[in-house]
């Protein structure tokens, strides 16, 4: 008999994220094809691979910024891209998306802070408008988060006045304020000046090591990938070429394509 995940509410689903034969096509370009993969609760995974291999697309699908062309995605036991209507699967409507999306937070390469709001408002807007927190409660939590990311003094500043590194810290605080179960990190240090990268990475290392979040990270920084992940997945042409613990993938990869990629990345 198949276990029904809804039968026992305390039972943890086996998978936090589950891709089932997921395909994604932009016009003629097939970015992902029949992709199967799963992520356990509180697992920290890093996706590596050449650009255009579909890593970022995976994050964007999970954040519902894109829709799958075929296959299904489940988050915490619930269908993300589709919903059930009777026996049939139909594309999810906005209401369904909003419910499942609650569990997912994302930090972007370009930070994407709202320039028309100060730092505090950037962090509190969604908790107040979406989670229904009172403003005081949301602000108190925001101040705690700002303290954690080392920017307590910048609550009233506007994003335009902050460095890239500071903006990205605020973006991290903003994502965490929504208390996601899954945190998606999309090349979060790629747009930063080199001297600002280390600070943001060490902040994320701390967050990852607390261990209560499921993290999916796309990065070109292999040392960072090694530090924060339990598992590394090597992608090429929309499929997983090889996966395993970081020590294994980085020191002793099996696939030639992984070796070539690592050699190319580590040389630069």
């Amino acid at each position: 008999m198949k276990a029904d995940p809804k039968a026992d509410p305390t039972a943890e689903p086996q998978y936090m994220i589950r891709f089932d034969k997921v395909g994604k096509r932009y016009g003629d370009h097939q970015v992902l094809r029949d992709l199967d993969f799963t992520v356990r609760p509180r697992e920290r995974c890093t996706l590596i691979g050449p650009s255009g291999s579909g890593k970022t697309t995976i994050l964007r699908l999970l954040m519902t910024l894109e829709r799958v062309t075929s296959g299904t995605i489940e988050v915490d036991g619930e269908l993300l891209s589709h919903m059930r209507r009777g026996d049939r699967l139909v594309p999810a409507d906005e209401k369904h998306l909003r419910r499942v999306r609650r569990k997912v937070g994302m930090v972007f390469q370009q930070f994407n802070l709202f320039p028309n709001m100060n730092v505090l408002r950037n962090i509190t807007e969604a908790p107040v408008r979406v989670l229904g927190r009172s403003r005081e409660e949301a602000e108190q939590r925001a101040m705690e988060l700002l303290e954690m990311v080392g920017l307590s003094g910048k609550a009233d500043a506007h994003p335009g006045r902050l460095s890239g590194g500071q903006q990205q810290r605020v973006a991290i605080a903003r994502a965490l304020a929504m208390e996601p179960e899954i945190l998606l990190l999309d090349e979060v240090t790629s747009a930063l000046d080199p001297e600002l990268v280390a600070g943001v990475q060490s902040l994320l290392r701390d967050i990852a090591s607390e261990g209560n979040l499921t993290i999916l990270c796309v990065t070109h920084e292999m040392n960072f990938a090694r530090d924060i992940s339990d598992r590394v997945l090597m992608f090429d042409h929309g499929q997983i070429v090889e996966e395993g613990p970081p020590e294994k993938i980085f020191s002793d990869p099996v696939e030639q394509r992984t070796r070539d990629f690592l050699q190319a990345v580590l040389q630069t």
Partner: protein
């Protein structure tokens, strides 16, 4: 014909109380209508269904490619007999001028909305903000800020075109100047004063708009 200071002083008070009041009412009324209706039209141009987008697009193109004066005549002379809608001259003028400029303002808003980076929409989705909230908290504040100078230019445009309302019997600064001149066929002073009035308002306004433009760019 020589300039008569005495006459200029005589007519100035009336010109700049009665006439100015009407010009101000027409300009501000039409501007409020244009800025609000323009926003509605801009949003309608982004409606999910073609059945909204297409008629709105046609309406905008129609109004933008016909003269304001023709529209005012239709509103004032045709509409009452055709549909039984009768409005006062000033109200008709405000509606005509406002709707005309709403179509230009819709394009201004549209440009501003298109200019908001895609990442802002994506961040709003990632934070699960409700759609209405995305517009009111994130997109529109940024879009409107970017087009403030263009809105200012439209306001000046409305102001400068408001004398056209004289042709549907609204007595604004220019209409009054013409009336005063026709009393004794001495047009020099009233028309000069009216022209000066438009200059005195429009030039500083343009400078203000340009300054705003520069401030928003930096």
């Amino acid at each position: 014909m020589t300039w008569d200071w005495g006459r200029a002083g005589e007519i100035a008070p009336e010109l700049f109380t009665t006439g100015l009041k009407v010009t101000a009412q027409a300009t501000l009324g039409a501007a409020v209508l244009a800025f609000l209706l323009g926003l509605v039209l801009a949003l309608a141009l982004r409606a999910p269904t073609r059945w909204v987008r297409l008629p709105v697009r046609v309406l905008i193109e129609l109004i933008r490619s016909t003269p304001l004066l023709a529209q005012l005549f239709i509103l004032y002379y045709v509409l009452p007999s055709a549909l039984g809608i009768t409005m006062g001259a000033l109200t008709t003028g405000i509606v005509g001028l406002g709707v005309h400029y709403a179509c230009y303002t819709a394009e201004v808003y549209r440009a501003g909305i298109d200019n908001v980076p895609k990442g802002q929409w994506e961040a709003a989705v990632a934070l699960n903000l409700p759609r209405l909230r995305v517009w009111t908290s994130v997109i529109l504040p940024q879009a409107v800020r970017k087009v403030l100078p263009a809105l200012g230019n439209n306001l000046i445009g409305i102001f400068k075109e408001s004398p056209q309302l004289a042709l549907i019997t609204v007595v604004d600064v220019l209409g009054l100047a013409r009336q005063l001149g026709s009393e004794d066929f001495r047009y020099l002073e009233p028309l000069t004063l009216a022209g000066l009035f438009f200059l005195v308002v429009a030039i500083p306004s343009s400078i203000l708009v340009r300054r705003l433009e520069r401030r928003l760019e930096s």
